[in-house]
């Protein structure tokens, strides 16, 4: 294992240094970013699993921690996610041939009748940064679309969000529809008007008060 390269890569992801050309962060201007260092690491024999676990997920955990402690804002976290994405491009063939694995698959969508997606997008980004594959079905997602995705990814966990009092009630029929075809599928729900009690009452397995809690729940209850 080339510790120095992994540390460098981890630093790039933590501070959002995407590639050589990216101007951010100012203190790393002109230096290679996650893109170049990942390439170099693979060429020097570092394994994709080491890159994923010891650099990328390690760095994103630090980023998540800083965000939880209000030391950085979402834009900075997004740059870290972009840097991770630049690295992941090089790992894609290894995911495809199965030599490196993600924690799992997370299917995500805003319930039908609801157009709000900022919280959902944030959760998706954070879950991806935690090492999951994220399949974002978008907004106004009908039960059939969730079912189709669950059938394609039988082991996936499903996340459903709503922001209105008149759309939160739409989550229950979606859960029922998913359970009818895949009883074992784990489902987490979230959104401003929801509560843990409501989540339990509609048959969800988990509730995320905010995106950070969503990630913690996934890691704790699914892996």
């Amino acid at each position: 294992m080339n510790t120095e390269l992994l540390e460098k890569l981890s630093e790039c992801v933590e501070f959002g240094k995407i590639n050589l050309a990216s101007p951010y962060p100012p203190q790393m201007k002109g230096q290679p970013g996650a893109d170049e260092i990942t390439k170099e690491a693979l060429e020097s024999g570092v394994t994709p699993t080491e890159i994923l676990n010891d650099a990328l997920i390690f760095a994103m955990n630090k980023v998540g921690q800083k965000f939880s402690e209000n030391k950085i804002f979402v834009p900075q976290m997004l740059l870290s996610a972009k840097a991770m994405g630049a690295s992941m491009v090089h790992l894609k063939p290894f995911f495809a041939n199965g030599s490196v694995k993600r924690k799992g698959t997370f299917i995500l969508g805003t319930v039908f009748g609801d157009l709000h997606d900022i919280g959902k997008n944030l959760l998706g980004m954070m879950v991806e940064g935690a090492g999951w594959e994220v399949i974002d079905l978008g907004i106004d997602v009908k039960p059939e679309k969730f079912i189709e995705a669950v059938q394609q990814h039988p082991d996936a966990v499903v996340g459903i969000s709503a922001l209105l009092t008149t759309t939160m009630v739409n989550i229950k029929p979606v859960i029922e529809a998913i359970r009818a075809v895949s009883p074992a599928t784990k489902i987490i729900v979230g959104g401003a008007p929801l509560s843990e009690e409501f989540a339990i009452s509609i048959g969800a397995d988990g509730y995320g008060k905010n995106p950070q809690e969503g990630v913690i729940w996934l890691d704790k209850h699914v892996n």
Binding site: F73, P75, T165, T166
Partner: protein, 457 residues
């Protein structure tokens, strides 16, 4: 831009309950004519909207208005505006929205005839167009339903017409999450402005045809999304404050097109509109904590003509139903402001000063809403040679105000925020004032995210 100078040029003149051009409703409520009037907002509790629940929904709305008026009368309130902001299904099927307006208006009318109590309905159809991604702002199939609800809903009793329009939001949400001020200005001052011109020319025409009041818009989906994200510490408060200032340039367009006020309650950009145009405004502050938290609970009242609670679910609390509870809270706030007005301008200005001072040092979003800073920033807006220039000028001035207050110890700003002042200022340095140059520059980065022809581009 139509406005080149301020209608109200002093902070003291920008006083609650008093607008240069008051608006009188058909039952005789004078908005901005010397007193503050409550505006009650409400929504349904968790429930589905379908053919099986329509009767229950009608009962909810009738009950809300009946109870609120009864309590308002008990409190000797001078009157109340009810904002009916429709939910998706009520706009998609306009007959539902129209019927609900009628149900509520019947209660208003009955109380007017029996007791002389003045109340009106502000009808706010929700903007359905964002259901398409990217939205078809000018050719959407949803527009017919929206126009029908504006038209027939106003005839059914919606005296004031408003909308929370969303043109430009399809690119603005991402701009918020990345704190991309340049894209935010493009969304608000190019796309937003163009969409407002289209929407409000139509809404004003409907209002004129039906002898109703074209009230105003709100940049809630832009400025309040930023405020709520900042409240959760997802984005810097400084950025949210600057976005708020820019929203004023966009929402001003409704008035340029013929709206007369009051703008919608959740448009915290209202004070800028009042300074620039003299129209009355609706504001919400501490009473909107039932819907969302904010750092501007008191300062928001400084210039309010209507005083609102944003939205509350119709659920039972210990004292009564939640909207009735809000009715009481709003009336007590309004009563205090009106009592200050009765004591004359010095007393009212003192209350205004206290409302501002109690919030302004704690958050940049409150700081930029003090009457003094509203006047300063509005002066920058009207100096703008076009909407983009106005936005950039006002944003720069806003950053100066925040930096000066921070450096002089008059504003608490967490250390993590401070670096953003310079970063945001830098991002303003290369924005072309010329609209076509700006469009040309932004198009490649936003390809597929919005449809230029839907904005007349």
């Amino acid at each position: 831009m139509k406005y080149t100078k301020l209608a109200v040029s002093t902070p003291e003149g920008l006083l609650f309950g008093n607008a240069l051009y008051p608006v009188t409703t058909r039952r005789g409520l004078v908005i901005g004519g010397g007193s503050v009037i409550p505006e009650l907002n409400f929504t349904l509790p968790p429930m589905s909207i379908n053919s099986d629940t329509l009767t229950a929904i009608g009962e909810h709305y009738k009950g809300i208005v009946t109870d609120a008026i009864e309590h308002a009368r008990h409190l000797h309130a001078p009157g109340v505006i009810f904002e009916f902001e429709t939910l998706l299904e009520m706009t998609q099927t306009p007959s539902i929205g129209i019927e609900l307006v009628k149900i509520m208006n019947d209660v208003c009318e009955e109380n007017y005839i029996k007791h002389g109590f003045k109340s009106e309905i502000r009808l706010t159809p929700n903007d359905l167009r964002e259901f398409d991604r990217p939205p078809l702002n000018r050719t959407s199939k949803y527009l017919d339903a929206m126009w029908e609800l504006f038209d027939k809903g106003s005839l059914a009793g919606g005296d004031l017409l408003s909308i929370e329009s969303t043109g430009g939001k399809e690119i603005h949400d991402d701009a918020l999450m990345t704190c991309d001020l340049k894209t935010s200005i493009f969304a608000l001052s190019v796309l937003g402005v163009r969409d407002m011109q289209f929407l409000w020319s139509n809404i004003v025409a409907i209002a004129k045809k039906n002898n109703k009041i074209a009230a105003g818009d709100t940049a809630c989906g832009f400025g309040n999304t930023a405020m709520v994200l900042a409240e959760k510490q997802f984005i810097p408060k400084t950025f949210a404050a600057i976005v708020r200032i820019i929203t004023a340039v966009r929402t001003l367009v409704a008035i340029e097109q013929g709206a007369v006020g009051p703008d919608k309650d959740c448009g915290y950009e209202g004070p800028f509109l009042k300074a620039i145009t003299g129209t009355p405004i609706s504001m919400e502050g501490k009473g909107s904590a039932c819907a969302h938290f904010s750092p501007v609970g008191n300062v928001a009242a400084c210039c309010a003509d209507l005083w609102s609670n944003e939205s509350v679910q119709n659920i039972k609390l210990l004292s009564g139903m939640a909207p009735t509870v809000c009715m009481e809270q709003l009336e007590y706030d309004a009563r205090l402001m009106n009592q200050a007005l009765k004591h004359g301008k010095p007393a009212a200005n003192l209350l205004q000063q206290l409302l501002a001072e109690s919030d302004q040092a704690l958050d940049p979003q409150a700081l930029i809403l003090t009457p003094k800073n509203v006047i300063t920033l509005s002066e920058e807006i009207v100096k703008g040679e076009n909407y983009i220039d106005a936005s950039v000028r006002a944003a720069k001035k806003g950053l100066d105000i925040i930096e000066e207050a921070y450096k002089s110890g008059q504003l608490l700003l967490p250390e993590v925020e401070v670096m953003w002042i310079d970063m945001l200022r830098d991002s303003l340095s290369d924005i072309p004032t010329d609209e076509s140059k700006f469009v040309e520059e932004m198009l490649p980065t936003l390809e597929g995210k919005f449809i230029p022809s839907e904005y007349g581009l």
